[in-house]
């Protein structure tokens, strides 16, 4: 059967023709790219990608199908998918279905057969922008008009949308290590990494008040990753300030890192085109060791402001562009990293951060 046509239109007018894959329909969002060569399913289900249309740079996607063991949340979070070769046929004993079936099932529109490398170069040079994919409307002009309806990522609060609606618990309730997780769109494996290390975690909705968190009587706080512009999350920043006053071990990842910075009056900014992939080199300035990290962020913390802030110590830097990858609050048991130490997908080099967090809590309660 012949594949249907599909069109991709970028905010700057760039139009690409390709073939339809996944659900038939129209979708829009901010275009971004991920350079990882394995773990597409984990990426697609990562809540931090909410609102994004994703280009996979690696040229074959779908080769090993999809399996229920490889999800980072209960559904696909990307808005749309762009690939060079998206594969219908797959090979993996553990897989349950093909990528095509998976996308159709979750109503995700995708386009393949486009020059993804040219698109990536364009985004690299011109920055992130909105885009629209359609396999039902094949008139670029109509799509350009529709593109205006796609909201701008700057100033967009998305965390509360992907956050859990009701609190839930994981791990051994008898554990002395009790962690309150503020869910702004957490990846499953972050929670696993804590539970595996013996923690009992309770995951709270994004807008949970400090009082409710305290009622759980946690021995530590975890502030999760998530989508959207951190600067639009007043509520989270104020909760974070309250948490810091608690003087309990606190760990933030990605969006959580940005919230920790904002709570210390360090501004965040929208990056030119973000970091997304699993090969980003980071140096731990405390230990001097390097780690290859998984990253997924379109916003960053202002490096100048961090360097000026007297109460903040830079713990990690990116070796490619010297951007801030990790901080800790001087005199307080609070630290955060911009990258994803739970790394699904990606190298396990940074898992030690969970060890450090748990140890910190254990020391604190001892």
């Amino acid at each position: 059967m012949e594949q249907r046509q599909a069109i991709l239109v970028l905010a700057d007018g760039t139009t690409c023709y390709g073939k339809a894959f996944g659900a038939i329909g129209t979708t829009g969002g901010e275009i971004c790219f991920n350079t990882g060569m394995t773990g597409y399913q984990e990426v697609f289900t990562d809540p931090s990608y909410y609102g994004q249309v994703l280009i996979m740079n690696t040229v074959h996607i779908g080769n090993y199908g999809v399996a229920d063991i490889d999800v980072e949340s209960d559904s696909i979070k990307i808005k749309g998918l762009i690939g060079r070769n998206l594969e219908e046929l797959f090979s993996r004993r553990k897989a349950q279905m093909s990528l095509d079936e998976y996308l159709k099932l979750q109503n995700i529109v995708a386009i393949e057969g486009v020059d993804t490398r040219a698109l990536v170069s364009q985004i690299r040079n011109q920055g992130a922008m909105n885009c629209i994919i359609s396999s039902e409307i094949l008139d670029p002009q109509v799509l350009k008009d529709k593109l205006n309806e796609v909201p701008d990522m700057s100033g967009l609060e998305l965390a509360s949308i992907v956050s859990t609606k009701v609190p839930y618990e994981l791990g051994d309730p008898a554990s002395p290590v009790k962690i309150a997780v503020l869910d702004y769109g957490t990846k499953k494996n972050i929670l696993n990494c804590m539970v595996e290390r013996g923690a009992y975690v309770k995951v709270f909705p994004a807008k949970t008040s400090l009082e409710e968190l305290k009622a759980f009587n946690p021995s530590g706080y975890f502030i999760s990753n998530g989508p959207g512009d951190p600067a639009s999350m007043e509520y989270a920043v104020s909760t974070m300030r309250g948490i810091l006053k608690e003087e309990k071990p606190t760990f933030g990842i990605c969006l959580g890192h940005q919230i920790l910075a904002l709570a210390n009056d360090i501004p965040t900014f929208k990056m030119h085109h973000g970091h997304r992939g699993m090969n980003h080199p980071v140096k731990n300035l405390i230990s001097g060791k390097c780690e290859i990290t998984t990253q997924n962020h379109g916003f960053g913390v202002d490096p100048e402001a961090v360097r000026k802030a007297e109460n903040i110590e830079i713990t990690h830097v990116n070796l490619n562009d010297q951007s801030i990858e990790g901080i800790r609050v001087k005199g307080k048991p609070a630290f955060s990293v911009q990258y994803h130490p739970e790394s699904t997908p990606g190298p396990h080099d940074s898992r030690y951060l969970f060890d450090e967090f748990i140890e910190m809590i254990q020391k604190h309660i001892a």
Partner: protein, 940 residues
């Protein structure tokens, strides 16, 4: 940690002559290491006995020793130089073994030399199978059940315990020499014997065979601060059971989930960090159970390797270059990414293309050799292709092979029926992928093939895509071929010629014109290590077809010269031509042109990203070349440096009106065409053996009668004396002709009178249109009848009379003038009863050009290239031949890879490599032995 300033001079050990399992990839790594260290201000001293290498060029190191790779040579070097450290990880297993031997003898300690890049005390556990196993068990890494046996009896006992199928792996051997599968008890005794004999310590590992598991390789770098990163993950198309050097391999891994990949990554890092204390590169191999996704460790190589050379070309990340810097103390985070120049060397390359490597075999040279692929490497070279999909890359790789494939398919008569095919593909052989495609074309299902071959279904689905397009194409004549379908075919790597053959309509050129008219044109994309995430500065490109025709290779306004490479290594055409190409590139730059390299051999220095001004990693295949020429519009193309591969494209270049730098096509054709050449010799009054040509047996017998037996029978236009035979009567002649025509139908057969027991000699020379310069006169130790590539050649002549030498030089000059040579020429002579005959002339760089350049210490390739370009005359140079005594070019063979094949030499070349040996005079005992044995291996 910054550079260790106590290291001021480093000895690099090369890998010696090319043999199967250890080829020019170590010239590439050695060259990179030498350049990398010298750019740090470190003095580099180098030892290698292989004269065809670039690493042994005076420009690559401060001091080069062309000496045999043994401890005596090492001691001599250490005596003569003040060396601080030795880097033994760049020269394959040969260098590592030599370093170990020297270590055991206390030589390094005696001269106060540090070993860098490896922990020599720790490598035993990587090299010794049993120690490796024990080490893995200690680390908690799964391995296949196995026992080490030191005797035949022990081996049999263990085999009984473990059960069949099993593997015999000898300890301390190269490229799996002597190893093999044992499917049942009947095969055990022979395999065990062979394995024990192959091992220098009479030790084999008897191991459970994990046939059908998938195989992966990881290339790692580690620095002195224990930072580790994975440069590349390579997946083998062929499942476990085929040596990785003989496997079709693909990068990035195509069928690996992230969970499975991270398990491998973690395990590989664990292994590398536990392999003593060293900074450098290493390679780890795993087998993966497709059911459970569990893995077992197969081996670890604490050095750069064939795979790391491939990984460097596949990713753009120069592993050997960085490994050398790590060895002298740098940490990864202190170094920059050599491709982007703005980001860190500590990272893991991301690929937005697929590379496919296909090995190149030469079974035709080893009559009686078992051509089933297994644990022991049998291929002599390889090609790599880059595409934006597996289908495109695999078809481009086929087009690179130079074995008449025009894509994945030969389009000749396969002749095999479904059942035969299905049976055939169960055994891995060189043509298995082609037969799998035939099977799919015949409608055999992916499932059935997967069960028969254990090849992952994903690869078979991709080949199925190729078949589907091929079937679709078959429905049309060229005229009515829909543009969409034509585009689809091109996107999936079909060549124009392949399309013409499938539709059985039109020519390659017509398909080309049709698609160009439809706007279906190649674009060039960059290999940048980072999937375009960062801007890269390095001009390393490959072609593909993309919607939108976005081109990344910008054509400069400089005058350009394209150098055609020599493609995959094979017997008769190897590293020596890469040496020539590299020097050509440098000379082109010196002459003020932009140099552009086209080649597809990942083992080479010519495909290093900073050798040419621009590198196109492309098949040396007409369509790709022509489209590139149309795009780059070069001043001209150099075909003299890339061996027969490059030379054979001259005719079409000429037809298209493209300037061939140096000798014209017509004159090259005279030299190549036996008839025209002999007519010319006749005119010049130069003697040549009587000859004739024939197209069938009857003709041949007539000709033989006329020229007189014994006669030399050979096909025209072949490499390395392929299928050449010496016959002494009609009966033998008939057999030879029939066999030849069966393999090369329609070929014009050349029949020469064979000058029995005559002496052979050759001359390499340069002619600039006015001046003639003899680079060297070489006399073969062996009498005629042995291919010149397999002969020991002595420079200068040692036994020929001055009159004979002068006559040879005189003839050579006459020929060069008559052919209007501009650049290089090689002429082969036979001398019988004082009379000099010309046997053949090659209007290009020859196998011996690098040897002469090394022996005399003169940059002949640089001179020759500038002459070809017309940039210089010979009179612009002075030639001072620095050679005391004689230099011998000794052929090196790989017969030990083919048990059961006799070391019998004849007119067909069999050697895989060569070494150089300097002797003071003819009393030299080594020379005397060679001279005494000169007729020992003669087949006739």
């Amino acid at each position: 940690m910054p550079k260790d300033s106590s290291i001021k001079s480093v000895l690099i050990i090369g890998s010696g002559p090319i043999v199967i399992g250890q080829a020019c990839e170590f010239d590439y790594s050695g060259t990179q290491a030498a350049r990398s260290l010298r750019e740090e201000g470190i003095e580099v001293i180098l030892i290698n006995s292989n004269p065809a290498t670039i690493m042994t060029d005076p420009m690559m190191a401060d001091r080069v020793y062309l000496l045999p790779l043994n401890v005596e040579s090492i001691e001599q070097i250490l005596e003569e130089n003040n060396i601080d450290a030795v880097l033994p990880t760049m020269g394959g297993q040969t260098a590592l073994n030599l370093a170990k031997e020297a270590e055991d003898l206390g030589i390094w300690e005696k001269y106060n030399v540090r070993l860098i890049g490896v922990d020599i005390k720790a490598i035993d556990k990587a090299e010794d199978r049993e120690k490796f196993r024990q080490w893995m068990i200690r680390l908690g890494v799964p391995v296949a059940p196995a026992h080490t046996a030191n005797s035949f009896l022990e081996g049999k006992e263990f085999a009984q315990d473990i059960g069949f199928p099993l593997v015999i792996r000898p300890s301390f051997t190269l490229g799996g020499t002597g190893g093999g599968f044992v499917h049942d008890a009947s095969e055990l005794d022979e395999a065990l014997q062979r394995g024990l004999q192959a091992s220098p310590i009479h030790e084999v590992l008897v191991e459970k065979a994990v046939l059908g598991w998938k195989e992966f390789e990881l290339e790692l770098l580690r620095d002195s601060a224990d930072n580790v990163c994975i440069i590349c993950t390579v997946e083998n198309f062929d499942p476990m059971g085929v040596h990785t050097g003989d496997s079709i391999t693909v990068a990035p891994a195509m069928t690996l989930s992230d969970t499975a990949f991270q398990l491998m990554r973690n395990t590989a890092i664990l292994m590398m960090r536990d392999l003593g204390n060293f900074a450098g590169g290493c390679n780890v191999q795993f087998a993966l159970d497709p059911e459970s996704e569990g893995i077992i460790a197969i081996e670890i190589n604490p050095r750069v390797s064939r795979s790391s050379a491939l990984a460097s070309k596949a990713t753009g990340y120069p592993i050997a270059k960085i490994a050398a810097k790590l060895a002298i103390g740098y940490t990864l985070d202190e170094l920059e990414n050599q491709i982007t120049k703005t980001t860190s060397a500590y990272f893991e390359p991301a690929l937005d293309y697929v590379i496919v490597k296909i090995p190149r075999w030469n079974f035709d040279k080893f009559k009686g050799a078992n051509d089933t692929l297994g644990l022991q490497m049998k291929s002599v070279g390889e090609v790599m292709a880059i595409g934006r999909s597996f289908t495109e890359a695999v078809q481009k790789a086929c087009q690179s092979l130079e074995n008449n494939a025009v894509g994945l398919g030969y389009y000749g008569k396969s002749g095999m029926r479904s059942e035969e095919l299905l049976e055939y593909i169960k055994t891995p052989k060189w043509d298995r992928i082609f037969r799998i495609k035939d099977a799919l074309m015949l409608g055999i299902s992916v499932n059935t093939i997967a069960k028969a071959t254990y090849i992952d279904r994903w690869f078979l689905y991709e080949i199925q895509k190729i078949c589907n397009i091929e079937k679709e194409l078959g429905n049309y004549w060229l005229e009515e071929l829909p543009t969409d379908l034509l585009r689809k075919a091109k996107v999936h790597g079909f060549s124009d010629e392949q399309i013409a053959r499938i539709i059985q309509d039109g020519s390659e050129e017509e398909v080309y014109e049709k698609r160009k008219a439809a706007g279906i044109t190649r674009v060039y994309k960059m290999v940048d290590t980072c999937s375009a995430e960062f801007e890269a500065k390095t001009p390393y490109f490959y072609s593909t077809f993309e919607e939108g025709n976005f081109n990344e290779s910008k054509v400069s306004d400089k005058k350009k010269i394209i150098v055609l490479g020599s493609g995959p290594n094979r017997i008769g055409q190897g590293i020596e031509f890469d040496y020539c190409c590299v020097h050509g590139l440098l000379a082109i730059k010196e002459a003020g042109y932009e140099s552009i390299m086209v080649n597809c051999n990942p083992e080479t220095v010519s495909t290093d990203f900073d050798m040419a001004d621009k590198l196109y990693f492309e098949p040396v295949f007409w369509e790709h070349l022509w489209e590139l020429i149309e795009y780059e519009k070069p001043e001209g193309v150099i075909v003299q440096l890339g061996g027969q591969t490059a030379l054979k494209l001259a005719e079409r270049l000429h037809q298209k009106g493209i300037k061939i730098m140096g000798t014209s096509y017509d004159n090259m054709d005279i030299a190549e065409d036996r008839g025209r050449f002999s007519d010319m010799l006749k005119e010049l009054d130069i003697p040549y053996p009587n000859y004739g040509t024939a197209y069938d047996v009857d003709d041949a017998v007539e000709v033989a009668k006329k020229v007189g037996y014994p006669v030399l029978v050979r096909p025209s236009y072949v490499l390395g004396g392929q299928r050449m035979r010496i016959v002494i009567n009609d009966e033998e002649l008939e057999k030879a002709v029939i066999s030849l025509l069966k393999h090369i139908p329609g070929n014009k057969i050349l029949i020469d009178h064979f000058l029995d027991r005559c002496q052979e000699a050759e001359i390499d020379a340069i002619f600039d249109g006015e001046n003639f310069h003899v680079m060297g006169v070489m006399e073969h130790i062996e009498p005629a009848g042995i291919h010149s590539g397999d002969s020991n050649a002595v420079l200068p002549a040692f036994n020929l009379t001055p009159l004979v030498v002068t006559t040879m030089e005189h003839y050579a000059e006459k020929i060069a003038r008559a052919l209007n040579i501009l650049g290089l020429i090689n002429i082969q002579f036979a001398i019988k009863d004082g009379k000099v005959y010309v046997i053949e002339a090659n209007p290009r760089a020859s196998r011996t050009t690098p040897f002469i350049a090394k022996a005399y210490g003169i940059p002949y390739l640089n001179v020759a290239t500038k002459v070809m370009l017309g940039a210089n005359k010979l009179t612009d140079f002075t030639f001072e031949k620095k050679l005391n005594g004689f230099a011998i070019k000794e052929p090196v063979f790989s017969f030990n890879k083919f048990p059961g094949v006799n070391k019998e030499l004849g007119p067909e070349m069999k050697s895989t490599g060569e070494a150089i040996r300097f002797i003071k005079d003819l009393r030299d005992p080594y020379f005397r032995q060679l001279y005494k044995d000169r007729s020992m291996y003669l087949s006739k």
